[in-house]
């Protein structure tokens, strides 16, 4: 039997239910793992081991008293620190929320708790989710567990690293333009960005409302399904949420029509390209049809994405004025004429940049030139993708066009940084589901395959991912740790 902290979520629940180990033993083993690796990886902003152990004891008592411990009884979950958690500090990796302790749980956290999951702490990210490396965290960077000199991806870098190292069983991230898939790919774990509306956003601290979704980052497809089913569903607190049917793990695979997006392959590093092609060969082996196709409007994706995301962000982040909550400020600083500008200096550079861009594209005279045009391009792209799904079941390509890179490599050039999101923003612009699966390594650095499907066709993603996961045999645990 593997070490306790290496178990997958379904194995944890099963083990506790069968009395093989207690929840307390399991949670302690995870905490031990954190103590071993956290100083190297730095996944967490806030760790709440004490409360986690208390919750574990509660589950053990329930088990003893023959009560239901819940579908996730004993599973430890790390939460990206932009999801509101009652009484656990929630910072968005920003100094502007340094002392913010929410009074409520996000809907997803409520679902997790209701099903026996244990919230272990809050995971690192780029400030407010704006970034692709977690270098923009205003607390500390997170390190890639496969090579500590490399970035873990972002913005949910803490989620990717913590799941890969076993610092938690599973984690919840958020994905506005690739923030789940990028770190999942860079850390060699599975990450799903669900269809827009499948999961309630209530409690997800908005960066760009029309683009983002909460989603699971796990060590297996099976765990993804387990978490997804529990956090999905219509929520009366979120107008944009919808009900959906539960996903199952099927061992039989339909003969899917799969399209490889040519532009995304062509735009990738050679090593990435090779690995993705070999994965597509595996699809053929398991009975699928693979063709290469083009997306005509692909070059509109990034400009459209960054215009819209920044516009929404500039408005969403306006509320951080430190009047009702935020950080400690001496009363003398509260001066009518200088107050806002003074307080808002506390944003990091990247956040300021996006607020400025967003304010600019929404200002009178520029609204139709930038914002409105970006919306039209978004519709155009969405239409093109939905049309492709009439012909193909799935679209595939590399999750990231490049391998994980070293700290500082792109941080001085925002455009270079934005360009790495080209493969992932498509799914957000179109509101479609997309999953990333680990498919191999190059020089010890992970490579991920992205699979996209039509809205609410997560079942297809899961079927094909499950089949692929069973055929690909790669290293699952970073050896550095």
């Amino acid at each position: 039997m593997p070490k306790l902290q290496d178990l997958q979520a379904h194995e944890v629940v099963q083990g506790i239910k069968e009395g093989l180990f207690t929840a307390e033993e399991y949670v302690s083993s995870v905490i031990n793992r954190i103590e071993d690796v956290e100083s190297k990886v730095r996944s967490f902003i806030t760790l709440d081991s004490e409360r986690a152990l208390t919750s574990a004891k509660l589950i053990d008592r329930k088990f003893k008293e023959k009560e239901d411990i819940g579908q996730l009884g004993g599973v430890t979950v790390g939460i990206k620190d932009n999801i509101s958690s009652k009484d656990i500090r929630t910072t968005c990796a920003s100094k502007i929320l340094e002392d913010y302790f929410p009074s409520y749980d996000a809907t997803v956290i409520r679902h997790l708790k209701d099903n026996g999951a244990i919230i272990l702490g809050k995971l690192n990210l780029d400030e407010f989710g704006m970034g692709s490396t977690t270098e923009y965290s205003r607390y500390h960077p997170t390190h890639n567990p496969w090579n500590l000199d490399y970035v873990p991806g972002g913005s949910s870098g803490g989620c990717g690293a913590a799941v890969a190292t076993g610092e938690c069983t599973v984690s919840l991230g958020s994905d506005t333009g690739g923030s789940i898939r990028c770190p999942a790919s860079f850390c060699s774990v599975v990450g799903l960005k669900p269809t827009y509306g499948r999961i309630s956003r209530y409690g997800l601290i908005s960066y760009a409302n029309s683009l983002e979704q909460i989603g699971p980052i796990c060590r297996s497809v099976k765990d993804i399904v387990m978490i997804l089913n529990i956090i999905s569903g219509k929520d009366i607190r979120d107008n944009t949420s919808m009900s959906s049917s539960p996903i199952t793990i099927n061992n039989k695979l339909d003969k899917f029509d799969i399209a490889i997006i040519k532009e995304l392959i062509d735009g990738s590093d050679l090593e990435v390209r090779k690995t993705v092609y070999s994965a597509s060969e595996k699809f053929k082996e398991i009975g699928c049809i693979c063709n290469e196709i083009s997306i005509k409007n692909l070059h509109y994706a990034l400009p459209s994405y960054y215009t819209l995301a920044s516009a929404e962000a500039s408005s969403n982040l306006a509320r951080y004025d430190n009047i009702r909550y935020g950080f400690d400020l001496p009363i003398a600083e509260y001066k009518w004429d200088t107050y806002f500008s003074n307080v808002r200096k506390n944003f990091g550079e990247e956040v300021k940049r996006r607020i400025l861009i967003g304010s600019y594209v929404l200002s009178s005279g520029y609204y139709s030139k930038y914002y409105l045009k970006a919306r039209r391009l978004r519709s155009l792209l969405k239409l093109e993708l939905l049309k492709l799904f009439k012909k193909y079941d799935l679209l595939i390509g590399p999750t990231m066009p490049i391998l994980p890179f070293k700290f500082g490599e792109k941080i001085d050039d925002p455009i270079k940084m934005y360009l790495v999101d080209i493969n992932t923003v498509l799914a957000n612009l179109a509101g479609i589901p997309a999953i990333t699966l680990p498919i191999g390594f190059s020089n010890g650095l992970p490579i991920g395959l992205q699979i996209m499907a039509a809205p609410f066709e997560e079942q297809k993603l899961i079927d094909v991912s499950n089949a692929l996961e069973n055929t690909i045999n790669i290293q699952r645990r970073p050896s550095l740790i």
Binding site: R237, N239, I323, R324
Partner: protein, 480 residues
């Protein structure tokens, strides 16, 4: 100076709503301890999302229908971005008319009188901000401000008119009619403090437009406009250019003053609210609402005149005070005598409550109920008490709340119809008013004086018909 153009921007709270526009906090925030009627959503805590109050959409649609506006098939909400400490999210969720989408109502018109209509440019649904109190006086002098978010998120209907008014009187007439309409629709209790506010723009001779904000009651609007016309006239006469600017109304000093310069930089960066998807109202929404809409003031007027045979004058007095009109109709349900009850209410009854007219809920808190008035009028009509007695009884039951019949019993004030008792009264009047009796013999008109004396002698309880007959009889008797 002529050619004054005045336009209005009215904000009316939907005071009838149980909850706020986007959360379940109470719609009525009044008389609560500051910052106790708040939740995560109306405080704009990170991660919260607005949930639209469906009833608010119905109410704002009814307003649009009543003001002759077109209601679109689908509506959406926009964010209006600006920083102000009373605005929890630093943007207001409102509506905006652009790119094929419109707010809940557009292009309406509202009849001012038979000869004039005021065009309504748009009606929109939006959220109210919180409230700022300046501790040491006004906003320009205070060193600190207190913020109460109890009001934040309350549903507001914004009504914007074209600049069709040419004098403050028209504005007052419009606001009165509008208040009445909102009250009849059951949308806004306009007498509640702060439930209606009005921004005014005034321009003269086609000159620059001056906007006056912060007029917190309809009563003050006329004063603010008069002040502004005087101010602009005097500038004009001295050849000083009238600046396009925003001014505030100081309701203590009764003057307008220039706002902080920053408030004039209007770039609200409107864009569609991503958290509220487009709302499709559907084909039957408007027609269904129309069918079930409460009666409007002019419809009620017609009904009062036609069904109850009330005079136009009486109908107007009743309808201009919606609560009184409602009281009238409740009374009719107990005892159906419309003309008598209406007259009693607009004369004796109304004069009693007039002194107390600042009390907005006077009819609800009053001890006198429709049942009381019904009984009282029934006794008048049944000849049990005189009109004069009825007035006295009203005073008594106003204080005690006992039934009129009980009050009449207690004070023994039934009409005196017994001829013997009345004859005694007539005789003693004839005794004391000898010269009047002589007058009456020659001049028939003077008989009324004698009747008055008899009434007075009986404390108003004498049945006037019988008393009159007895007086006449006595005058015609030779021994008198």
């Amino acid at each position: 100076m002529s050619l004054v153009m005045i336009g209005l921007e009215i904000h009316a709270q939907i005071t009838e709503l149980k909850s706020k526009l986007f959360c379940s906090c109470r719609g009525n925030y009044r008389d609560l301890i500051p910052n106790t009627n708040i939740c995560e959503t109306c405080c704009g805590l990170p991660g919260t999302l607005p949930i639209i109050n469906k009833k608010a959409i119905e109410y704002s649609t009814m307003t649009s229908i009543a003001l002759g506006c077109k209601v679109p098939d689908k509506i959406m909400f926009y964010r209006k971005n600006y920083f102000y400490p009373d605005l929890p999210k630093n943007f207001q969720i409102t509506q905006y008319n652009v790119y094929g989408f419109s707010s809940i109502g557009v292009d309406g018109s509202f009849e001012l009188d038979d000869s004039k209509k005021i065009r309504i440019s748009r009606i929109q649904l939006e959220e109210d901000p919180g409230r700022i109190t300046y501790v040491e006086g006004g906003m320009n002098v205070s060193n600190s401000a207190l913020i109460d978010y109890n009001r934040a998120g309350v549903a507001l209907i914004e009504i914007v008119t074209e600049p069709d008014f040419t004098n403050p009187k028209e504005v007052r007439l419009f606001l009165n009619k509008l208040s009445l309409t909102l009250e009849h629709l059951g949308i806004c209790d306009t007498l509640m403090e702060g439930s209606v506010r009005c921004d005014v723009n005034v321009s003269m001779k086609g000159g620059n437009k001056v906007e006056i904000k912060n007029i917190n009651s309809f009563k003050e609007v006329e004063k603010a406009i008069n002040y502004e016309i005087t101010r602009q006239t005097s500038l004009y006469n001295r050849n000083i250019k009238i600046e396009s600017e925003t001014r505030h109304w100081d309701d203590r000093k009764k003057i307008t003053f220039k706002a902080r310069s920053k408030e004039e930089e209007h770039d609200y960066r409107y864009f569609p609210e991503p958290d509220i998807p487009v709302i499709v109202l559907g084909d039957n929404f408007v027609s269904n609402l129309k069918d079930h809409m409460p009666e409007l003031p002019n419809q009620r007027f017609d009904r009062f005149v036609l069904k109850y045979n009330l005079s136009e004058h009486t109908s107007n007095i009743l309808i201009n005070d919606k609560k009184l009109a409602d009281f009238f109709e409740s009374t009719l349900k107990v005892y159906f005598s419309p003309v008598e009850i209406a007259n009693f209410l607009i004369t004796d009854f109304k004069s009693m409550i007039e002194d107390d007219s600042d009390n907005t809920d006077y009819l609800r808190n009053m001890k006198v109920k429709p049942e009381h008035i019904a009984e009282l009028v029934k006794m008048i009509e049944g000849n049990k008490i005189s009109r004069i007695t009825a007035k006295d009884i009203l005073v008594k039951i106003f204080e005690s709340g006992i039934l009129p019949s009980e009050a009449v019993n207690n004070t023994n004030s039934f009409k005196i119809a017994d001829e013997k008792t009345l004859m005694d009264a007539v005789e003693s009047v004839f005794e004391t008013e000898k010269s009047a009796v002589e007058d009456a013999k020659r001049n028939h008109e003077a008989i009324n004086f004698l009747l008055g004396k008899v009434m007075k002698f009986t404390n108003g309880r004498a049945d006037p018909k019988i008393a009159m007959r007895l007086i006449n009889n006595k005058l015609n008797k030779p021994d008198a």
